[in-house]
Subunit: 234 residues, 2 copies
């Protein structure tokens, strides 16, 4: 049986792989999880023994298929919980992440099924992140780009925002930038500031590039890979 901590490492490695692709460095994992690099080295050693990651010393680490499956399972729990809390317990958009992090390791398969059923098997969570399906096949996230990769004049639709930072989330929520929102890029300052116009509210918002990098968007005519806008938000 895997410990909660191991699951956290696998989830972290998965997320980092999604962002920068493998291999994932020791220090990136350490930073992501708030641990020291030696701690990570030691833990990664154990994950390797268990066949959950592949490692090349001094190079970095990559999930095996088995490791990825575990990560997807945890992620499924996390995102189903986020959706459930939002939908049925009146949580706001920015409050759910922490709660889901605490619960994701401790729910049974039965609970997972019932929550999924109560939600009607949603495909995305309230942040727009895809919820891995029950069979844990890797979701496909092609067709999405980072808002920060777009230039002035581009019009895009928001698909996902990162759920890692509650303040950021709060801010975006205030600004009306949520999954489904259409935005125009109106200005890019040289010092890493992106200004956008939110089409729905006619308001302009400036975002630091660090935030723009966490916002995934698609072309106006495209599809967020897990299109299913039935999950509401507060």
């Amino acid at each position: 049986m895997l410990s909660d901590v191991m699951e956290d490492y696998l989830k972290a490695i998965y997320s980092l792989q999604m962002e920068h692709g493998p291999p994932v460095s020791t220090s990136d994992i350490a930073e992501y999880l708030g641990k020291t690099p030696p701690t990570v080295t030691s833990m990664v050693g154990k994950l390797e023994e268990r066949g959950l990651v592949e490692r090349e010393k001094y190079k970095g680490v990559e999930l095996t298929d088995e490791g990825e499956t575990v990560a997807l399972e945890v992620l499924r729990h996390h995102r189903l919980l986020e959706a459930y809390l939002t939908e049925h317990l009146d949580y706001s958009w920015s409050e759910v992440h922490e709660e889901a992090d605490a619960l994701e390791h401790h729910i049974s398969e039965e609970f997972e099924r019932r929550v999924a059923a109560a939600l009607g098997n949603p495909k995305v969570d309230p942040h727009g992140d895809p919820i891995p399906s029950a069979d844990l096949t890797p979701p496909d996230s092609s067709g999405l780009s980072m808002l920060s990769d777009h230039g002035v004049g581009d019009t895009v639709v928001v698909c996902r925002v990162s759920d890692r930072n509650p303040e950021e989330l709060e801010y975006l929520s205030e600004a009306g930038i949520t999954p489904g929102t259409t935005i125009d890029v109106t200005d890019i300052a040289p010092f890493g500031m992106v200004t956008v116009r939110v089409v729905e509210t006619e308001s302009e918002q400036s975002l630091p590039e660090s935030v723009a990098r966490t916002i995934r968007v698609r072309e106006p005519d495209g599809d967020c890979q897990g299109e299913d806008e039935e999950v509401s938000m507060a």
Copy 2:
């Protein structure tokens, strides 16, 4: 911050105190939690250092007020979860205990509040156990007796059944013995078997004395201390 494990010990000591009164012995705690006595001795030492229990060496242990408050908090979580799972996620009577045990340590105060609100602040869980109030004052369980303490001819109403054993719970559920049920004691065998007639279903059931001890009952005209039959069961 208290660990999950410490919370489990406090909860166990609380339950044992409810059953047999203080002091609670090392071996009873060990038995209850499935640990060895030396493990319990060591843990109890830590709880004592933190002021959560009072201990007399070789005698036993008793919760301090602070320790009791922690136990009640955990118990509140547990029982709210049991009620919620039964009410909103379609769990059956006998399935909820394990799930609640896994989750009780990991929900936030916010979650507790929202679940309580979603249930309409119930006073008892599906097994009939009183849910400690939000202010964590000790619930009063006077007026209840054990079914095993009654004699032939007595008529009583079931208030609570223990939630610790799923099979037992399953059996009682089948037998129609649930909180609110009225039963007559029709026979007591010398080898520890109690036979009762369930008034509602007109059926007779025989129960080993060990089970009869876990069923709390009241006089037909009395009140289960947390009377509030709005929590249903499956």
